[in-house]
Protein backbone atom coordinates (compact mmCIF):
# COMPACT_ATOMS: atom_id res chain seq x y z
CA UNK A 1 0.00 0.00 0.00
CA UNK A 2 2.83 2.37 0.91
CA UNK A 3 4.57 1.57 -2.38
CA UNK A 4 1.42 2.37 -4.33
CA UNK A 5 1.15 5.70 -2.55
CA UNK A 6 4.77 6.56 -3.30
CA UNK A 7 4.42 5.49 -6.93
CA UNK A 8 1.35 7.71 -7.28
CA UNK A 9 3.27 10.62 -5.81
CA UNK A 10 6.24 9.84 -8.04
CA UNK A 11 4.21 10.38 -11.20
CA UNK A 12 3.70 14.02 -10.25
CA UNK A 13 7.01 14.82 -8.57
CA UNK A 14 9.89 12.59 -9.62
CA UNK A 15 12.55 14.45 -7.58
CA UNK A 16 10.69 14.01 -4.31
CA UNK A 17 10.26 10.34 -5.09
CA UNK A 18 13.95 9.78 -5.56
CA UNK A 19 14.99 11.46 -2.32
CA UNK A 20 12.36 9.56 -0.38
CA UNK A 21 13.47 6.23 -1.70
CA UNK A 22 17.10 7.09 -1.00
CA UNK A 23 16.16 8.05 2.57
CA UNK A 24 14.38 4.79 2.92
CA UNK A 25 17.33 2.84 1.64
CA UNK A 26 19.70 4.49 4.07
CA UNK A 27 17.28 3.88 6.90
CA UNK A 28 17.20 0.25 5.86
CA UNK A 29 20.97 -0.10 5.73
CA UNK A 30 21.41 1.44 9.16
CA UNK A 31 18.60 -0.72 10.48
CA UNK A 32 20.35 -3.86 9.29
CA UNK A 33 23.62 -2.69 10.79
CA UNK A 34 22.13 -2.05 14.23
CA UNK A 35 19.96 -5.17 14.10
CA UNK A 36 23.11 -7.23 13.63
CA UNK A 37 24.65 -5.56 16.70
CA UNK A 38 21.55 -6.22 18.80
CA UNK A 39 21.26 -9.81 17.62
CA UNK A 40 24.89 -10.33 18.68
CA UNK A 41 24.08 -8.88 22.11
CA UNK A 42 20.92 -10.98 22.50
CA UNK A 43 22.35 -14.25 21.21
CA UNK A 44 25.79 -14.20 22.86
CA UNK A 45 24.78 -15.99 26.12
CA UNK A 46 22.85 -18.88 24.47
CA UNK A 47 25.60 -19.24 21.87
CA UNK A 48 28.27 -19.28 24.55
CA UNK A 49 26.25 -21.92 26.38
CA UNK A 50 26.37 -24.06 23.26
CA UNK A 51 30.10 -23.47 22.72
CA UNK A 52 30.91 -24.41 26.31
CA UNK A 53 28.70 -27.48 26.20
CA UNK A 54 30.91 -28.93 23.45
CA UNK A 55 34.13 -28.58 25.44
CA UNK A 56 35.89 -30.98 27.78
CA UNK A 57 36.81 -29.71 31.25
CA UNK A 58 40.45 -29.77 30.17
CA UNK A 59 39.78 -27.37 27.34
CA UNK A 60 37.63 -25.12 29.52
CA UNK A 61 40.40 -24.60 32.05
CA UNK A 62 43.11 -24.20 29.38
CA UNK A 63 44.03 -20.58 28.64
CA UNK A 64 42.85 -20.75 25.03
CA UNK A 65 40.32 -18.67 23.13
CA UNK A 66 37.08 -19.27 25.07
CA UNK A 67 34.95 -18.37 22.03
CA UNK A 68 36.19 -21.27 19.94
CA UNK A 69 35.92 -25.06 20.32
CA UNK A 70 39.24 -26.72 19.46
CA UNK A 71 38.27 -30.32 20.21
CA UNK A 72 34.46 -30.63 20.09
CA UNK A 73 33.13 -33.47 22.19
CA UNK A 74 29.67 -34.67 23.14
CA UNK A 75 30.88 -36.13 26.44
CA UNK A 76 28.96 -33.53 28.47
CA UNK A 77 25.72 -34.58 26.77
CA UNK A 78 26.31 -38.31 27.14
CA UNK A 79 27.41 -37.95 30.77
CA UNK A 80 24.43 -35.80 31.70
CA UNK A 81 21.85 -37.91 29.89
CA UNK A 82 23.41 -41.11 31.19
CA UNK A 83 23.08 -39.79 34.70
CA UNK A 84 19.84 -40.82 36.37
CA UNK A 85 19.61 -37.63 38.40
CA UNK A 86 19.31 -35.29 35.45
CA UNK A 87 16.65 -37.47 33.84
CA UNK A 88 14.68 -37.35 37.09
CA UNK A 89 14.79 -33.53 37.02
CA UNK A 90 13.60 -33.61 33.45
CA UNK A 91 10.79 -36.04 34.24
CA UNK A 92 9.67 -33.98 37.25
CA UNK A 93 9.65 -30.81 35.16
CA UNK A 94 7.73 -32.46 32.33
CA UNK A 95 5.13 -34.03 34.63
CA UNK A 96 4.60 -30.81 36.58
CA UNK A 97 4.31 -28.69 33.44
CA UNK A 98 1.89 -31.01 31.65
CA UNK A 99 -0.37 -31.38 34.69
CA UNK A 100 -0.31 -27.62 35.32
CA UNK A 101 -1.26 -26.97 31.70
CA UNK A 102 -4.25 -29.31 31.94
CA UNK A 103 -5.45 -27.90 35.27
CA UNK A 104 -4.94 -24.34 34.04
CA UNK A 105 -6.83 -24.80 30.80
CA UNK A 106 -9.82 -26.51 32.45
CA UNK A 107 -10.12 -23.83 35.12
CA UNK A 108 -9.44 -20.82 32.93
CA UNK A 109 -11.51 -21.74 29.87
CA UNK A 110 -14.68 -22.47 31.85
CA UNK A 111 -14.19 -19.42 34.06
CA UNK A 112 -13.41 -17.16 31.10
CA UNK A 113 -16.56 -18.32 29.33
CA UNK A 114 -18.64 -17.57 32.41
CA UNK A 115 -17.03 -14.17 32.84
CA UNK A 116 -17.15 -13.16 29.18
CA UNK A 117 -20.63 -14.37 28.30
CA UNK A 118 -22.78 -15.35 31.26
CA UNK A 119 -22.61 -12.30 33.49
CA UNK A 120 -23.45 -13.02 37.12
CA UNK A 121 -23.40 -11.03 40.31
CA UNK A 122 -19.88 -9.73 40.84
CA UNK A 123 -18.54 -11.05 37.54
CA UNK A 124 -17.10 -7.69 36.48
CA UNK A 125 -15.30 -7.34 39.81
CA UNK A 126 -14.00 -10.88 39.50
CA UNK A 127 -12.58 -10.16 36.02
CA UNK A 128 -10.65 -7.20 37.44
CA UNK A 129 -9.62 -9.32 40.41
CA UNK A 130 -8.23 -11.97 38.08
CA UNK A 131 -6.05 -9.36 36.42
CA UNK A 132 -4.86 -8.01 39.78
CA UNK A 133 -4.00 -11.56 40.87
CA UNK A 134 -1.74 -11.81 37.86
CA UNK A 135 0.18 -8.79 39.14
CA UNK A 136 0.87 -10.36 42.56
CA UNK A 137 4.39 -11.79 42.27
CA UNK A 138 5.56 -15.16 43.57
CA UNK A 139 8.09 -13.42 45.80
CA UNK A 140 5.21 -12.02 47.89
CA UNK A 141 3.49 -15.37 48.45
CA UNK A 142 6.18 -17.97 49.02
CA UNK A 143 6.64 -17.30 52.74
CA UNK A 144 2.96 -17.54 53.75
CA UNK A 145 2.57 -20.61 51.48
CA UNK A 146 5.60 -22.17 53.20
CA UNK A 147 3.89 -21.68 56.58
CA UNK A 148 0.50 -22.85 55.25
CA UNK A 149 2.07 -26.14 54.16
CA UNK A 150 3.40 -26.67 57.67
CA UNK A 151 -0.09 -25.95 59.00
CA UNK A 152 -1.65 -28.51 56.61
CA UNK A 153 0.87 -31.10 57.78
CA UNK A 154 0.12 -30.43 61.45
CA UNK A 155 -3.65 -30.62 61.03
CA UNK A 156 -4.21 -33.28 58.37
CA UNK A 157 -0.93 -35.17 58.27
CA UNK A 158 -0.53 -34.54 54.53
CA UNK A 159 3.08 -33.58 53.82
CA UNK A 160 3.17 -30.96 51.08
CA UNK A 161 6.77 -29.93 51.55
CA UNK A 162 9.47 -31.55 49.45
CA UNK A 163 7.20 -33.26 46.92
CA UNK A 164 7.27 -32.38 43.24
CA UNK A 165 3.48 -32.79 42.96
CA UNK A 166 2.96 -29.93 45.41
CA UNK A 167 4.11 -27.69 42.56
CA UNK A 168 1.07 -28.81 40.53
CA UNK A 169 -1.11 -27.28 43.25
CA UNK A 170 0.67 -23.94 43.44
CA UNK A 171 1.81 -23.24 39.86
CA UNK A 172 -1.78 -22.62 38.67
CA UNK A 173 -1.77 -19.47 40.83
CA UNK A 174 0.79 -18.12 38.35
CA UNK A 175 -0.72 -19.44 35.13
CA UNK A 176 -4.51 -19.37 35.65
CA UNK A 177 -5.03 -15.59 36.05
CA UNK A 178 -3.23 -14.71 32.85
CA UNK A 179 -4.66 -17.65 30.89
CA UNK A 180 -8.15 -16.58 32.01
CA UNK A 181 -7.38 -13.04 30.96
CA UNK A 182 -6.27 -14.20 27.49
CA UNK A 183 -9.39 -16.34 27.13
CA UNK A 184 -11.74 -13.56 28.25
CA UNK A 185 -10.24 -11.41 25.50
CA UNK A 186 -10.71 -14.09 22.85
CA UNK A 187 -14.23 -15.04 23.94
CA UNK A 188 -15.29 -11.40 24.05
CA UNK A 189 -14.25 -11.02 20.42
CA UNK A 190 -16.59 -13.81 19.26
CA UNK A 191 -19.82 -12.31 17.84
CA UNK A 192 -22.81 -12.57 20.15
CA UNK A 193 -24.99 -13.86 17.28
CA UNK A 194 -23.04 -17.12 17.29
CA UNK A 195 -23.99 -18.20 20.80
CA UNK A 196 -27.48 -16.72 20.48
CA UNK A 197 -28.04 -18.95 17.45
CA UNK A 198 -26.77 -21.97 19.38
CA UNK A 199 -28.98 -21.22 22.38
CA UNK A 200 -32.04 -20.74 20.17
CA UNK A 201 -31.30 -24.09 18.57
CA UNK A 202 -31.52 -25.59 22.03
CA UNK A 203 -27.88 -25.98 22.98
CA UNK A 204 -27.02 -25.89 26.66
CA UNK A 205 -24.35 -23.51 27.95
CA UNK A 206 -21.88 -26.34 28.22
CA UNK A 207 -22.54 -27.34 24.60
CA UNK A 208 -22.19 -23.74 23.47
CA UNK A 209 -18.79 -23.67 25.14
CA UNK A 210 -17.45 -26.99 23.84
CA UNK A 211 -19.00 -26.98 20.35
CA UNK A 212 -18.72 -23.31 19.44
CA UNK A 213 -16.46 -21.26 21.69
CA UNK A 214 -13.57 -23.67 22.08
CA UNK A 215 -13.22 -24.40 18.32
CA UNK A 216 -13.58 -20.73 17.39
CA UNK A 217 -11.14 -19.56 20.07
CA UNK A 218 -8.56 -22.26 19.27
CA UNK A 219 -5.72 -19.76 18.60
CA UNK A 220 -6.33 -18.27 22.04
CA UNK A 221 -6.37 -21.69 23.63
CA UNK A 222 -3.08 -22.65 22.01
CA UNK A 223 -1.56 -19.33 23.12
CA UNK A 224 -2.77 -19.81 26.71
CA UNK A 225 -1.50 -23.41 26.73
CA UNK A 226 1.96 -22.33 25.60
CA UNK A 227 1.96 -19.56 28.18
CA UNK A 228 1.07 -21.95 31.03
CA UNK A 229 3.70 -24.41 29.91
CA UNK A 230 6.43 -21.77 29.74
CA UNK A 231 5.54 -20.36 33.15
CA UNK A 232 5.62 -23.77 34.82
CA UNK A 233 8.79 -24.81 33.05
CA UNK A 234 10.67 -21.66 34.04
CA UNK A 235 9.41 -21.19 37.62
CA UNK A 236 12.34 -21.07 40.01
CA UNK A 237 11.37 -19.56 43.36
CA UNK A 238 8.64 -22.00 44.46
CA UNK A 239 10.59 -25.21 43.79
CA UNK A 240 13.67 -23.66 45.42
CA UNK A 241 11.66 -22.88 48.55
CA UNK A 242 9.47 -25.99 48.70
CA UNK A 243 11.59 -28.90 47.45
CA UNK A 244 15.00 -30.03 48.71
CA UNK A 245 15.64 -33.75 48.08
CA UNK A 246 17.40 -34.33 44.77
CA UNK A 247 14.74 -36.76 43.52
CA UNK A 248 12.01 -34.12 43.94
CA UNK A 249 13.69 -31.22 42.17
CA UNK A 250 12.62 -29.73 38.85
CA UNK A 251 15.10 -28.72 36.17
CA UNK A 252 16.01 -25.09 36.94
CA UNK A 253 16.53 -25.76 40.63
CA UNK A 254 18.17 -29.11 39.97
CA UNK A 255 20.80 -27.58 37.71
CA UNK A 256 21.53 -24.67 40.02
CA UNK A 257 21.72 -26.69 43.24
CA UNK A 258 23.25 -30.04 42.23
CA UNK A 259 25.62 -29.22 39.35
CA UNK A 260 27.19 -26.40 41.30
CA UNK A 261 28.97 -28.19 44.13
CA UNK A 262 30.56 -25.80 46.55
CA UNK A 263 33.34 -23.99 44.73
CA UNK A 264 33.75 -26.66 42.08
CA UNK A 265 32.00 -25.52 38.94
CA UNK A 266 31.77 -28.12 36.21
CA UNK A 267 30.91 -25.52 33.60
CA UNK A 268 30.71 -27.90 30.66
CA UNK A 269 27.96 -29.87 32.35
CA UNK A 270 26.20 -26.82 33.80
CA UNK A 271 25.95 -25.23 30.36
CA UNK A 272 24.80 -28.51 28.80
CA UNK A 273 22.16 -28.96 31.47
CA UNK A 274 20.94 -25.38 31.10
CA UNK A 275 20.83 -25.65 27.32
CA UNK A 276 18.88 -28.92 27.39
CA UNK A 277 16.59 -27.39 30.02
CA UNK A 278 15.94 -24.39 27.77
CA UNK A 279 15.29 -26.66 24.79
CA UNK A 280 11.55 -27.45 25.27
CA UNK A 281 10.41 -23.79 25.35
CA UNK A 282 12.83 -22.98 22.51
CA UNK A 283 11.48 -25.82 20.35
CA UNK A 284 7.88 -24.78 20.99
CA UNK A 285 8.87 -21.22 20.19
CA UNK A 286 10.58 -22.24 16.95
CA UNK A 287 7.49 -24.04 15.66
CA UNK A 288 4.68 -21.92 17.11
CA UNK A 289 6.29 -18.48 17.26
CA UNK A 290 3.12 -16.57 16.38
CA UNK A 291 1.01 -18.31 19.02
CA UNK A 292 3.82 -17.93 21.51
CA UNK A 293 4.04 -14.19 20.95
CA UNK A 294 0.27 -13.81 20.90
CA UNK A 295 0.02 -15.63 24.22
CA UNK A 296 2.65 -13.74 26.09
CA UNK A 297 1.70 -10.30 24.83
CA UNK A 298 -2.08 -10.62 24.95
CA UNK A 299 -2.26 -9.24 28.48
CA UNK A 300 -1.28 -5.79 27.41
CA UNK A 301 -2.81 -5.67 23.92
CA UNK A 302 -6.21 -7.01 24.86
CA UNK A 303 -8.59 -5.88 27.56
Amino acid sequence: MANAAIAAGAAGRPIKYRSMSRDRQWAMRWSYFFLVLFVIFFLTPPLYMFITSLKSSGEISAAKNPWWVYAPTLSNYTELLGQNQYLVFFRNSALVSVCVVIVTMVISVTAAFALARMKFWGSATLATGVFLTYLIPDSLLFIPLFKMFAFVRDTTGIELMNHWWTLIIIYPTLSVPFATWIMIGYFASIPKELDEAALIDGATWMQTLTRIFIPVAMPGIIAATIFSFTVSWAQFLYPLAFTTSTDQLVLPVGIVTTLIKGDVFNWGQIMTGALLGAAPPLIIYAFLMDYYIAGLTAGATKG
Binding site: L35, P45, I107, W205, L237, I270
Partner: protein, 309 residues
Protein backbone atom coordinates in the same frame (compact mmCIF):
# COMPACT_ATOMS: atom_id res chain seq x y z
CA UNK B 1 -28.65 -12.92 12.02
CA UNK B 2 -29.26 -10.30 14.68
CA UNK B 3 -32.49 -9.21 12.98
CA UNK B 4 -33.86 -12.71 13.20
CA UNK B 5 -32.73 -13.30 16.74
CA UNK B 6 -34.03 -10.02 18.13
CA UNK B 7 -37.79 -10.56 17.38
CA UNK B 8 -37.51 -14.03 18.85
CA UNK B 9 -36.12 -12.63 22.03
CA UNK B 10 -38.93 -10.07 22.33
CA UNK B 11 -41.53 -12.76 21.73
CA UNK B 12 -39.95 -14.88 24.42
CA UNK B 13 -39.76 -11.98 26.84
CA UNK B 14 -43.39 -10.98 26.26
CA UNK B 15 -44.64 -14.57 26.32
CA UNK B 16 -43.26 -15.91 29.57
CA UNK B 17 -41.64 -13.30 31.77
CA UNK B 18 -41.44 -15.62 34.76
CA UNK B 19 -39.91 -18.40 32.64
CA UNK B 20 -37.29 -16.04 31.33
CA UNK B 21 -36.59 -14.87 34.85
CA UNK B 22 -36.02 -18.44 35.92
CA UNK B 23 -33.74 -19.00 32.96
CA UNK B 24 -31.71 -15.97 33.90
CA UNK B 25 -31.42 -17.23 37.41
CA UNK B 26 -30.30 -20.60 36.21
CA UNK B 27 -27.84 -18.99 33.86
CA UNK B 28 -26.17 -17.01 36.61
CA UNK B 29 -26.02 -20.07 38.81
CA UNK B 30 -24.32 -22.08 36.07
CA UNK B 31 -21.96 -19.20 35.41
CA UNK B 32 -21.05 -19.00 39.07
CA UNK B 33 -20.38 -22.73 39.22
CA UNK B 34 -18.20 -22.50 36.12
CA UNK B 35 -16.15 -19.73 37.70
CA UNK B 36 -16.01 -21.46 41.09
CA UNK B 37 -12.68 -23.31 40.58
CA UNK B 38 -11.08 -20.00 39.64
CA UNK B 39 -12.60 -18.25 42.66
CA UNK B 40 -11.46 -21.02 45.01
CA UNK B 41 -7.95 -21.04 43.55
CA UNK B 42 -7.56 -17.29 43.95
CA UNK B 43 -9.16 -17.28 47.40
CA UNK B 44 -7.17 -20.18 48.89
CA UNK B 45 -3.80 -19.83 47.20
CA UNK B 46 -3.51 -16.09 46.53
CA UNK B 47 -5.86 -13.97 48.64
CA UNK B 48 -5.56 -16.01 51.82
CA UNK B 49 -1.74 -16.26 51.75
CA UNK B 50 -1.53 -12.52 51.06
CA UNK B 51 -3.60 -11.82 54.17
CA UNK B 52 -1.79 -14.52 56.11
CA UNK B 53 1.52 -12.82 55.29
CA UNK B 54 0.30 -9.70 57.10
CA UNK B 55 -0.60 -11.78 60.14
CA UNK B 56 2.70 -13.68 60.08
CA UNK B 57 4.64 -10.44 59.88
CA UNK B 58 3.07 -9.36 63.18
CA UNK B 59 4.36 -12.33 65.18
CA UNK B 60 7.65 -12.53 67.06
CA UNK B 61 10.53 -14.61 65.77
CA UNK B 62 9.45 -17.89 67.36
CA UNK B 63 5.87 -17.16 66.23
CA UNK B 64 4.50 -17.56 69.73
CA UNK B 65 3.52 -13.98 70.48
CA UNK B 66 1.68 -11.22 68.64
CA UNK B 67 3.90 -8.15 68.45
CA UNK B 68 1.91 -5.90 66.10
CA UNK B 69 4.13 -3.67 64.02
CA UNK B 70 7.23 -4.51 66.07
CA UNK B 71 8.88 -6.50 63.28
CA UNK B 72 8.27 -3.72 60.76
CA UNK B 73 9.80 -1.18 63.14
CA UNK B 74 12.79 -3.44 63.68
CA UNK B 75 13.34 -3.83 59.92
CA UNK B 76 13.02 -0.09 59.33
CA UNK B 77 15.93 0.48 61.71
CA UNK B 78 18.26 -1.89 59.86
CA UNK B 79 20.76 -0.42 57.43
CA UNK B 80 20.54 -3.64 55.37
CA UNK B 81 16.88 -2.89 54.70
CA UNK B 82 17.58 0.57 53.30
CA UNK B 83 20.31 -0.92 51.12
CA UNK B 84 17.73 -3.37 49.79
CA UNK B 85 15.25 -0.56 49.10
CA UNK B 86 17.91 1.44 47.28
CA UNK B 87 19.12 -1.53 45.23
CA UNK B 88 15.63 -2.77 44.32
CA UNK B 89 14.61 0.68 43.10
CA UNK B 90 17.91 1.26 41.33
CA UNK B 91 17.74 -2.07 39.48
CA UNK B 92 14.07 -1.84 38.58
CA UNK B 93 14.07 1.78 37.41
CA UNK B 94 17.33 1.75 35.47
CA UNK B 95 16.59 -1.64 33.90
CA UNK B 96 13.09 -0.59 32.82
CA UNK B 97 14.33 2.68 31.32
CA UNK B 98 16.99 0.91 29.26
CA UNK B 99 14.64 -1.91 28.29
CA UNK B 100 12.14 0.65 27.04
CA UNK B 101 14.74 2.61 25.07
CA UNK B 102 16.28 -0.53 23.52
CA UNK B 103 12.85 -1.99 22.83
CA UNK B 104 11.69 1.23 21.15
CA UNK B 105 14.81 1.58 19.03
CA UNK B 106 14.97 -2.08 17.98
CA UNK B 107 11.25 -2.10 17.15
CA UNK B 108 11.88 0.79 14.73
CA UNK B 109 14.81 -1.02 13.14
CA UNK B 110 12.72 -4.14 12.60
CA UNK B 111 9.87 -2.02 11.25
CA UNK B 112 12.22 -0.33 8.76
CA UNK B 113 13.38 -3.47 6.96
CA UNK B 114 11.27 -5.23 4.28
CA UNK B 115 8.27 -7.09 5.68
CA UNK B 116 9.32 -10.53 4.51
CA UNK B 117 12.58 -10.46 6.46
CA UNK B 118 11.02 -9.15 9.66
CA UNK B 119 9.90 -12.53 10.95
CA UNK B 120 13.40 -13.96 10.90
CA UNK B 121 14.93 -11.00 12.75
CA UNK B 122 12.11 -10.85 15.24
CA UNK B 123 12.58 -14.56 15.90
CA UNK B 124 16.27 -14.14 16.71
CA UNK B 125 15.75 -11.03 18.85
CA UNK B 126 13.17 -12.76 21.03
CA UNK B 127 15.34 -15.70 22.08
CA UNK B 128 16.42 -14.22 25.49
CA UNK B 129 12.78 -13.92 26.43
CA UNK B 130 12.06 -17.59 25.68
CA UNK B 131 14.92 -19.16 27.68
CA UNK B 132 13.93 -19.67 31.34
CA UNK B 133 15.69 -16.86 33.26
CA UNK B 134 17.35 -19.22 35.74
CA UNK B 135 19.06 -21.02 32.85
CA UNK B 136 20.12 -17.98 30.84
CA UNK B 137 21.48 -16.33 33.98
CA UNK B 138 23.75 -19.35 34.39
CA UNK B 139 25.24 -18.51 30.98
CA UNK B 140 25.85 -14.94 32.18
CA UNK B 141 27.38 -16.27 35.40
CA UNK B 142 29.83 -18.24 33.27
CA UNK B 143 30.53 -15.25 31.03
CA UNK B 144 31.30 -13.23 34.19
CA UNK B 145 33.43 -15.96 35.78
CA UNK B 146 36.27 -14.40 37.83
CA UNK B 147 39.09 -16.43 36.26
CA UNK B 148 37.68 -17.56 32.89
CA UNK B 149 35.46 -14.63 31.93
CA UNK B 150 35.09 -14.68 28.16
CA UNK B 151 34.52 -10.92 28.17
CA UNK B 152 37.77 -10.33 30.01
CA UNK B 153 39.56 -12.48 27.42
CA UNK B 154 38.36 -10.09 24.71
CA UNK B 155 39.27 -7.06 26.85
CA UNK B 156 42.76 -8.46 27.40
CA UNK B 157 43.32 -8.34 23.64
CA UNK B 158 42.62 -4.61 23.68
CA UNK B 159 44.86 -4.11 26.68
CA UNK B 160 42.01 -3.51 29.10
CA UNK B 161 42.63 -5.01 32.53
CA UNK B 162 40.26 -7.73 33.79
CA UNK B 163 36.92 -6.46 35.08
CA UNK B 164 35.79 -7.95 38.43
CA UNK B 165 32.24 -8.45 37.07
CA UNK B 166 30.65 -9.97 40.14
CA UNK B 167 33.36 -9.29 42.70
CA UNK B 168 32.97 -5.56 43.22
CA UNK B 169 29.79 -3.79 44.36
CA UNK B 170 29.59 -1.34 41.45
CA UNK B 171 30.33 -3.91 38.75
CA UNK B 172 28.03 -6.49 40.32
CA UNK B 173 25.16 -4.00 40.27
CA UNK B 174 25.96 -3.19 36.66
CA UNK B 175 25.97 -6.91 35.84
CA UNK B 176 22.55 -7.46 37.46
CA UNK B 177 21.08 -4.51 35.55
CA UNK B 178 22.66 -5.71 32.30
CA UNK B 179 21.19 -9.20 32.63
CA UNK B 180 17.80 -7.72 33.49
CA UNK B 181 17.94 -5.56 30.37
CA UNK B 182 19.06 -8.48 28.24
CA UNK B 183 16.21 -10.69 29.46
CA UNK B 184 13.50 -7.99 29.35
CA UNK B 185 14.22 -5.83 26.30
CA UNK B 186 12.81 -8.35 23.78
CA UNK B 187 9.39 -8.14 25.46
CA UNK B 188 9.38 -4.37 25.01
CA UNK B 189 10.53 -4.80 21.43
CA UNK B 190 7.64 -7.09 20.54
CA UNK B 191 5.06 -4.90 22.29
CA UNK B 192 6.34 -1.73 20.63
CA UNK B 193 6.55 -3.43 17.27
CA UNK B 194 2.88 -4.39 17.54
CA UNK B 195 2.03 -0.81 18.51
CA UNK B 196 4.15 0.54 15.65
CA UNK B 197 2.29 -1.65 13.15
CA UNK B 198 -0.99 -0.15 14.32
CA UNK B 199 0.10 3.43 13.55
CA UNK B 200 -1.80 4.29 10.33
CA UNK B 201 0.51 4.69 7.32
CA UNK B 202 -1.46 7.79 6.26
CA UNK B 203 -0.08 9.67 9.25
CA UNK B 204 3.48 9.05 8.08
CA UNK B 205 2.56 10.06 4.55
CA UNK B 206 0.93 13.24 5.79
CA UNK B 207 3.99 13.98 7.92
CA UNK B 208 6.29 13.29 4.96
CA UNK B 209 4.31 15.66 2.74
CA UNK B 210 4.59 18.33 5.43
CA UNK B 211 8.35 17.83 5.25
CA UNK B 212 8.88 16.05 8.57
CA UNK B 213 12.30 14.51 9.15
CA UNK B 214 12.56 10.89 10.37
CA UNK B 215 13.20 12.18 13.85
CA UNK B 216 10.09 14.36 13.78
CA UNK B 217 8.03 11.42 12.52
CA UNK B 218 9.15 9.33 15.48
CA UNK B 219 8.71 12.13 18.01
CA UNK B 220 5.44 13.67 16.81
CA UNK B 221 3.69 10.71 15.17
CA UNK B 222 4.88 7.36 16.53
CA UNK B 223 5.49 8.32 20.15
CA UNK B 224 2.07 9.90 20.79
CA UNK B 225 0.33 7.02 19.00
CA UNK B 226 2.20 4.45 21.08
CA UNK B 227 1.95 6.30 24.39
CA UNK B 228 -0.53 3.97 25.99
CA UNK B 229 1.29 0.76 25.11
CA UNK B 230 4.58 2.31 26.22
CA UNK B 231 3.09 3.15 29.61
CA UNK B 232 1.43 -0.22 30.17
CA UNK B 233 4.50 -2.21 29.12
CA UNK B 234 6.81 -0.11 31.29
CA UNK B 235 4.58 -0.38 34.37
CA UNK B 236 4.14 -4.06 33.84
CA UNK B 237 7.86 -4.60 33.50
CA UNK B 238 8.45 -2.45 36.56
CA UNK B 239 6.40 -4.88 38.65
CA UNK B 240 8.15 -7.93 37.20
CA UNK B 241 11.66 -6.47 37.55
CA UNK B 242 11.02 -5.11 41.02
CA UNK B 243 9.77 -8.45 42.33
CA UNK B 244 12.32 -10.48 40.36
CA UNK B 245 14.10 -13.29 42.17
CA UNK B 246 15.77 -15.60 39.63
CA UNK B 247 18.40 -13.30 38.16
CA UNK B 248 19.92 -11.97 41.38
CA UNK B 249 19.69 -15.32 43.11
CA UNK B 250 21.63 -17.15 40.40
CA UNK B 251 24.01 -14.37 39.41
CA UNK B 252 25.23 -12.96 42.72
CA UNK B 253 22.98 -14.35 45.45
CA UNK B 254 22.95 -10.82 46.88
CA UNK B 255 26.71 -10.46 47.00
CA UNK B 256 29.38 -9.21 47.22
CA UNK B 257 28.29 -8.80 50.87
CA UNK B 258 24.83 -7.32 50.37
CA UNK B 259 25.58 -5.06 47.41
CA UNK B 260 23.00 -6.62 45.08
CA UNK B 261 20.47 -7.90 47.62
CA UNK B 262 16.89 -7.03 46.61
CA UNK B 263 13.51 -7.58 48.27
CA UNK B 264 12.81 -11.05 46.89
CA UNK B 265 16.28 -12.47 47.57
CA UNK B 266 16.52 -10.86 51.00
CA UNK B 267 13.08 -12.18 51.99
CA UNK B 268 14.20 -15.64 50.87
CA UNK B 269 17.43 -15.40 52.84
CA UNK B 270 15.77 -14.14 56.01
CA UNK B 271 12.55 -16.12 55.81
CA UNK B 272 13.56 -19.52 54.40
CA UNK B 273 17.31 -19.84 54.83
CA UNK B 274 17.56 -18.24 58.29
CA UNK B 275 14.13 -19.50 59.30
CA UNK B 276 12.80 -16.15 60.56
CA UNK B 277 9.40 -16.37 58.87
CA UNK B 278 7.82 -13.24 60.42
CA UNK B 279 10.72 -11.05 59.34
CA UNK B 280 10.80 -12.62 55.88
CA UNK B 281 7.07 -11.99 55.47
CA UNK B 282 7.51 -8.41 56.64
CA UNK B 283 10.33 -7.83 54.16
CA UNK B 284 8.32 -9.12 51.22
CA UNK B 285 5.31 -7.05 52.33
CA UNK B 286 7.35 -3.88 51.93
CA UNK B 287 7.13 -4.56 48.19
CA UNK B 288 3.35 -4.30 48.28
CA UNK B 289 2.89 -0.48 48.25
CA UNK B 290 5.11 -0.02 45.19
CA UNK B 291 3.45 -2.91 43.38
CA UNK B 292 0.02 -1.53 44.27
CA UNK B 293 0.82 1.90 42.83
CA UNK B 294 2.05 0.36 39.55
CA UNK B 295 -0.97 -1.96 39.42
CA UNK B 296 -3.37 0.96 39.93
CA UNK B 297 -1.79 2.84 37.02
CA UNK B 298 -2.00 -0.25 34.79
CA UNK B 299 -5.69 -0.74 35.60
CA UNK B 300 -6.41 2.92 34.90
CA UNK B 301 -4.61 2.70 31.56
CA UNK B 302 -6.42 -0.47 30.56
CA UNK B 303 -9.87 0.87 31.41
CA UNK B 304 -9.02 4.09 29.57
CA UNK B 305 -8.13 2.06 26.50
CA UNK B 306 -11.36 0.14 26.88
CA UNK B 307 -13.44 3.31 26.78
CA UNK B 308 -11.54 4.65 23.79
CA UNK B 309 -12.20 1.60 21.63
Amino acid sequence: MADIAAPNATVLAAGSRSGLHKLMQRKSTIAFLMALPLILLIAILVAYPAGYAVYLAMLNKSMSKFVGFGTFEFILKRQAFWDVVYQSCLFAISAVIFKAIIGFVVAHFVHNIPAKGQRKWRGMLLVPWVIPPAMSTLAWLWLFDPSYSAFNWIFAHFGISAVPWLGEAGWARFAVILVNIWAGAPFFMIMYLAALKSVPEQLHEAAAIDGATWWQKIWYVNLPMMRNIIAITALFSLIVTFANFDIVRVLTNGGPLTATQIFATWAFKVGIESGDIPQGAAVSLFMAPILAIAAAFILRNISKRGSEV
